[in-house]
């Protein structure tokens, strides 16, 4: 036990004091928040007002085109050809041509531009579309008031009923986001830190220090110390990431162009609803903000304690499960290029659990494939984690999955140790699967 701690301490300190660890720990949160902010900033600031010249042969749409942040409209009465020349002369970015028979044949409308126009085109289309629909409905005898009344916005709140009977606001959107973040984190860290264990084992073998070490400690102690040491590095990295991301993201929003964002959302809501729904600015702002607040509320309504607890448990146990396999692989080979043949079978269950969890998110957390995948130790760390974030997993299932995973770890560590103790002293040729099987069955 004392030896495991000594090995653990060395493995931990060697890695934590490395420059690459410190850089990665600091940079990762900055990178995440930075990229995220950059994307938002770019979208917001890249909106430029387009100059749109409209040739409206019907004269029906004049009051529908209202200047906005996206477009400034100008009505002209010239021929289409001379209008086109305006684009070439840079007097306008877009020409909208609405022919007289637009009501009968909506597809005759044309938009001309020099460059691709993107979003503005959709907006113009929906303006015209709304108007044509209104005209057609009016022709069919439906009155303006009825139309306004019919323009309601349904946005149902999904409410989960828990066993205790209390109502809880559903959290599907947030659950999906949190779930997928967990999957990606789990997948990449189990893989990443597992590989570190493997490299560490290969390093000791190629350095030839292994024989000195195992004349002092048992191979099992060395393997366990290494796995736990690297695991501790992983937990440290998580702690740093969480702490730093939180710290940075509380600071970053104050640097965001809040005013512009609100206007962007307002614009969006207006075009979607058509101007029939007389939405006042306050209402819009409320609904825009409500997307964010609702997401936050949803996250609050999730059982965060359970999720974080489960994440730490499944990360650590899943990591040990796979790291012991990686340790065994590392012991069996002389250099990293020889690992390919053994890596592939390890990747399959990891990839499969990734797919299972995507399926669980898509088709619900209670399908039978999700159930079984969250019980098998190979996939349970990832799949059960997703199910927990989606909520509603019975306690006994979580308990069973954890118990099976712990059992799986004990078996896998035992098996890996049997391969490891033989493998670390073998040099020269790359072993076959058959030989590895023989190592497992050596006695003593």
């Amino acid at each position: 036990m004392k030896n495991i701690l000594l090995v653990l301490k060395r493995e931990y300190l060697v890695r934590v004091t490395k420059k690459s660890f410190i850089v990665l720990s600091l940079l990762m949160p900055i990178l995440i928040v930075g990229i995220y902010s950059l994307v938002i900033y770019m979208t917001v600031s890249s909106i430029e007002q387009k100059r749109v010249s409209v040739i409206d042969k019907t004269n029906l749409f004049r009051e529908k085109f209202k200047d906005s942040k996206f477009a400034k409209y100008e009505f002209i009465n010239t021929s289409l050809d001379s209008a086109k020349s305006r684009v070439l002369k840079k007097q306008a970015d877009l020409i909208v041509y609405i022919p007289e028979n637009i009501i009968e044949e909506p597809s005759t409308m044309k938009i001309y531009s020099e460059k691709t126009v993107g979003d503005v085109k959709n907006k113009i289309e929906s303006i015209v579309q709304n108007k044509i629909r209104d005209i057609k409905l009016e022709k069919a005898g439906i009155k303006q008031e009825v139309l306004e009344d019919a323009n309601v916005n349904v946005n149902a709140e999904s409410v989960n009923i828990t066993e205790t009977g209390e109502e809880k606001k559903g959290s599907e959107g947030a659950a999906m986001i949190v779930g997928m973040i967990c999957v990606i984190l789990m997948f990449s860290t189990v893989l990443g830190f597992g590989m570190q264990v493997m490299r560490g084992v290969i390093e000791e073998k190629t350095n030839r220090i292994i024989e000195v070490i195992i004349s002092s400690v048992k191979p099992f102690e060395l393997m366990m110390g290494k796995i736990l040491g690297v695991g501790a590095v992983g937990l440290t990295q998580f702690a740093l990431w969480i702490f730093l991301t939180l710290a940075i993201s509380t600071v970053a929003p104050s640097l965001m162009p809040r005013q512009q964002m609100t206007e962007m959302v307002k614009e969006q809501v207006q075009t979607q609803a058509g101007d029939k729904a007389k939405v006042d600015a306050k209402k819009i702002e409320k609904s825009a903000g409500s997307i964010v607040t609702r997401l936050l509320e949803q996250i609050k309504s999730m059982n965060l304690g359970l999720i974080i607890g489960c994440f730490l448990f499944y990360f650590f146990c899943g990591y040990i499960f796979y790291a012991s396999i990686y340790a065994a692989i590392g012991s069996a080979v002389d250099n990293e290029t020889d690992t390919q043949q053994f890596m592939f079978p390890v990747m399959i269950p990891l990839m499969a659990s990734y797919l299972f969890s995507v399926m669980a998110v898509q088709f619900g957390a209670d399908s039978s494939i999700a159930f079984w995948a969250s019980m098998v130790p190979f996939s349970s760390p990832i799949v059960m984690m997703v199910r927990v974030t989606m909520g509603g997993v019975p306690a006994w299932e979580i308990a069973l999955s954890m118990a099976l995973l712990i059992g799986g770890i004990i078996f896998m560590v035992w098996l890996a140790a049997r391969i490891y103790r033989v493998g670390i002293l073998m040099y020269g040729k790359k072993p076959s699967w058959k030989e590895i099987w023989k190592w497992m069955t050596y006695k003593g």
Binding site: V14, E204, N207, I209, E211, V212, S215
Partner: protein, 305 residues
């Protein structure tokens, strides 16, 4: 307590394809330098790994100082493997502290002992350097310190002089003798006969997984004596009742050199008396077989299996 620091009784080690050790028994007395000899692949490393408890024997038992060899004896053994290495990216000082702690030393004990060695070898400036920045010979020195730092009763050195330049090899040789003087037992495996000749008190020869020969070096030499003598002389020499001339050759300066074998009933003194009358002797000496000769003849005596 026992007079032998290590007793190996009938040890057998089998691998899937071959038997590495076949019924090998050895006794290593306390306070001696014991040479484990044998051609490559004879089973030396297998035996050493078993003594280091890296692997276990399939049959037989091993006693350390009279007790059955077990995990508690790890602290009493220092091991320098033939294929040696250190963590490349670790500082010399940290690395030695780590290895010492694995051998059960506390940090303060280890620091104290390390200080002595660093002063002794005059390597104080290496403490904060990475191993990869040291030359190979320097690394070997560090490794030697790591092997003996915890003052083990039994020190196992596998080919200790390979990779050392003559100056450092001599330094290590002196250290080995000093450790012996302090009461440690040294088991070393080698196929360099000059070091065996120079250092070993006891030897064992392993060949084709079997022990061919073991015992005190002097006793072994005695038993391999052929009762032949070399005479350097002027004059005429022929065989008589006391001896037989095996070979003769004329040297550049006109002196003769002959190898003669003493007949069983004759003593050396009688032989010399007889010789003085016939020839002018420049030198006379017994042919004592070198370890190299013994090694080769013992290996050749083993029938092909």
């Amino acid at each position: 307590m026992s007079n032998n620091i290590l007793e190996v009784h009938n040890v057998v080690k089998r691998y899937a394809e071959h038997t590495a050790l076949n019924d090998v028994s050895l006794n290593i007395p306390k306070g001696v330098i014991y040479g484990l000899l044998g051609p490559n692949g004879a089973g030396k490393t297998s035996l050493i790994r078993i003594i280091n408890q890296i692997t276990g024997p399939d049959e037989g038992k091993i006693l350390f100082d009279g007790e059955k060899l077990s995990a508690q004896h790890i602290k009493q053994i220092g091991y320098l493997p033939e294929e040696r290495g250190l963590y490349k990216k670790m500082k010399v000082g940290e690395q030695l502290l780590y290895l010492a702690q694995l051998k059960g030393l506390s940090k303060t004990e280890a620091l104290e002992k390390l200080k002595e060695w660093f002063i002794k070898f005059d390597i104080k400036s290496w403490w904060g350097k990475n191993i990869e920045d040291l030359s190979k010979g320097m690394q070997q020195k560090i490794q030697f310190v790591a092997t003996v730092l915890h003052e083990p009763q039994l020190i196992i050195l596998d080919e200790p002089f390979s990779g050392f330049d003559p100056i450092n090899a001599n330094l290590i040789r002196d250290e080995i003798l000093e450790l012996k003087a302090k009461g440690s037992t040294i088991l070393f495996s080698t196929h360099r006969m000059d070091t065996v000749e120079d250092l070993c008190d006891y030897v064992a020869l392993i060949h084709k997984s079997k022990k061919v020969l073991d015992g005190r070096k002097l006793d072994i030499k005695e038993s391999y004596k052929t009762h032949t003598y070399t005479v350097d002389y002027k004059g005429e020499l022929g065989s008589n009742n006391d001896f037989t001339v095996l070979s003769s050759a004329v040297q550049e300066d006109g002196f003769m050199k002959s190898t003669i074998r003493l007949n069983p009933e004759t003593s050396v003194n009688k032989l010399i008396k007889g010789l003085i009358d016939v020839i002018e002797i420049r030198s006379f000496g017994e042919n004592i077989p070198s370890m190299n000769d013994i090694f080769i003849s013992a290996v050749n005596e083993v029938p092909e299996a």
